[in-house]
Symmetry: D3
Amino acid sequence: MKIAIYPGTFDPVTNGHIDIINRAALIFDKVIIAVATNPQKKPLFSVAERMDMLAHVISNTPNIEIDRIDGLVVDYAMAKKAHAVIRGLRAVSDFEFELQMALVNRKLCEELITVFLMPHEKYSYLNSGIVKELATFGGNINCFVPEYVLNKIKEKLHDH
Amino acid sequence: MKIAIYPGTFDPVTNGHIDIINRAALIFDKVIIAVATNPQKKPLFSVAERMDMLAHVISNTPNIEIDRIDGLVVDYAMAKKAHAVIRGLRAVSDFEFELQMALVNRKLCEELITVFLMPHEKYSYLNSGIVKELATFGGNINCFVPEYVLNKIKEKLHDH
Amino acid sequence: MKIAIYPGTFDPVTNGHIDIINRAALIFDKVIIAVATNPQKKPLFSVAERMDMLAHVISNTPNIEIDRIDGLVVDYAMAKKAHAVIRGLRAVSDFEFELQMALVNRKLCEELITVFLMPHEKYSYLNSGIVKELATFGGNINCFVPEYVLNKIKEKLHDH
Amino acid sequence: MKIAIYPGTFDPVTNGHIDIINRAALIFDKVIIAVATNPQKKPLFSVAERMDMLAHVISNTPNIEIDRIDGLVVDYAMAKKAHAVIRGLRAVSDFEFELQMALVNRKLCEELITVFLMPHEKYSYLNSGIVKELATFGGNINCFVPEYVLNKIKEKLHDH
Amino acid sequence: MKIAIYPGTFDPVTNGHIDIINRAALIFDKVIIAVATNPQKKPLFSVAERMDMLAHVISNTPNIEIDRIDGLVVDYAMAKKAHAVIRGLRAVSDFEFELQMALVNRKLCEELITVFLMPHEKYSYLNSGIVKELATFGGNINCFVPEYVLNKIKEKLHDH
Amino acid sequence: MKIAIYPGTFDPVTNGHIDIINRAALIFDKVIIAVATNPQKKPLFSVAERMDMLAHVISNTPNIEIDRIDGLVVDYAMAKKAHAVIRGLRAVSDFEFELQMALVNRKLCEELITVFLMPHEKYSYLNSGIVKELATFGGNINCFVPEYVLNKIKEKLHDH
């Protein structure tokens, strides 16, 4: 059984992430979405909230799991006996950073293979930061996140 | 069973290609190396010679096959019931071209997923064109191609 | 009256070109599509055929003209009293080449301003070369070019 | 009448910005410089100071206006009935970020066209951050900003 | 005598820096490693600690000196009668930033030549930030820094 | 004595090349301009003509030599006991190609160091191909090449 992990902050999950997850689930027997705690990034949502949003919006297929990750991706991947790490590639600037991370991870664990997938071009501009910035200024983010996430963002920004 | 095809000209196969093939064979149940005929590129070796070199140098694992491809990659992939197309990513210039091909292929066949793998950094500069150019000028290409391929290049250049 | 020229080979015009033309026509009072003869590129279609296809597929708005161009873009632009040259930007590799051309043109004519427009992201992978290559291999190019152009490509490839 | 807005932080305006403004004023009937408040960027100068510097250094042409902008660029542009948003392109890293913003803005407002202009190559390295950093270390910034701005930077740094 | 300075934060020095230093020492008569104090970057190590680590790990060749630098690189270089500034180039994103710095430095001092060297490809992914991040999470950094630096990082992180 | 070679086709030498040569001559004791024969590139000028133009336009300094090169750069460099190979970097696309060549050359000869220099930004768009293309269409190339080269191009194009 081929297992892949898809690590990220998912603060919050966007339609671009969902697109990558669905593609990954077609080529691996199991995909584990690994939500990084990332306290230094000061996420808008807690890990529990981010995992809850993922649980509501990903396809209800048995080969996708959601978990949290506190340490290094390679340590987590080895503990889960994963063969691959999934990363999305949207732009040249992504590419260089991702290449660097993949090279470092390979140094730390030679057997772990980084697999790059490309989201649909209609999501090529999309990331969680832009979604939050648009929402702060009252921009329409309907086509960037699922409805459940949209409502959670509104609640959170209202609370602030 | 998850099947991936790895299309290319392989004129000739290099250590960078072999590195990608071995990685792909770890995450897919079957990998089909699809040698493109590419007459407009005026290859140095015939398709038969390129397939012969591949057969000699790839790992003797049962889940790797070698075939030729004459038409579009998407048509071949659909005929083989492949889930994924494997492509190597070495540099930013690769990245843009590969992104374009992946987007076009997705337009032609939505279900076919392009999977990008990164060769070992010691092969990040390597392609078949440089190997042939170095060989023409008598440069040492021992660390770029397997010995069998090295000898075939020497024979071919001697014939010319 | 603000006049812009949009130079290119248009061999043949694609949906990406049409998208750029329509955007340009919204911000300039007149847009002149300048079909470069480009004999060294060995176009598939003659200049007359390329101009004919453009005439059939662009919006029937009075502020768009079609012309041919045989010399330097800056000389043509000065003769037409144009203020701007329109160029489409799809990718980083485009960007560097276009930047270079814009810098050279500015050296030749300081007053002529290069204006970069971005096609819709669904055309970000598209160029005339890919359309012709796909058509050669029997690929479906319905969503890349208008029907009139599609038929002209089929006729041309049938003749060859 | 074709109206364009040129949004930015202008903290402070540099010779590169002025170059873009002058080019834009040649191809549009009206150019509105829209100074973004951007409190999260912690600007060195207040919005009023940034608008004052712009008012002193831009050409005294009737078709250039200076305004402030507090919300989203697309909302401001629609309120002003603008046809285009002007952005300067200096480098590949600019290009990717600007492409992303242009794509997001198009999603939010299909009719608003982003127009990219290229500053003179002598300003291709220039941004407000470098000017401020050089000034902090006593570097000579005479050729990067107009004299009026130079004096304001000196006053501000002296106050700190 | 041709003198070059190699400015940087070196927080801490990595095997990639050492590789660049050794190459520079082969082509210049004297190389001065100039440790920038950079308080705004909040370095993990003090300038004295960073200079101490450099002193322990660089080759014991008489043509390499270690110094600190508090102001602008160009002012320091002129004071030292240096002909060149050494910079390492690892990736496209490096390239654009370094190009910008080189252009600004040339504006400030026309005679000072920026010389770009490329580290060994096995260090192409390496920077001080990644080393510190890996060490924080208990990752193995043996192949990224010399043993002396490794121990200093462990001590420092233990203290925190 | 530190020796550097500056290999290239120089078909013909441009002001950008001359700028790089002058910078290199300031940091190396001897600079050898190595004119590559490059028959597969079908140069406009013969090697003898290209060397003649170089001899006329480079500064009359004793530490610059002009030679021809028929084989691999590394073999030539070793024969000349050179420490470094000089390459100009103008753009990101240059960067990737040059990085690749530098990595290959290092594989072939570990001791040979590739040194990248950046031409003045006013030559950042300039290469021999553009100069020839402009000249073909009657464009003004006065600011791109020295007068001697300008006249040789005119003669050559007149002959054709």
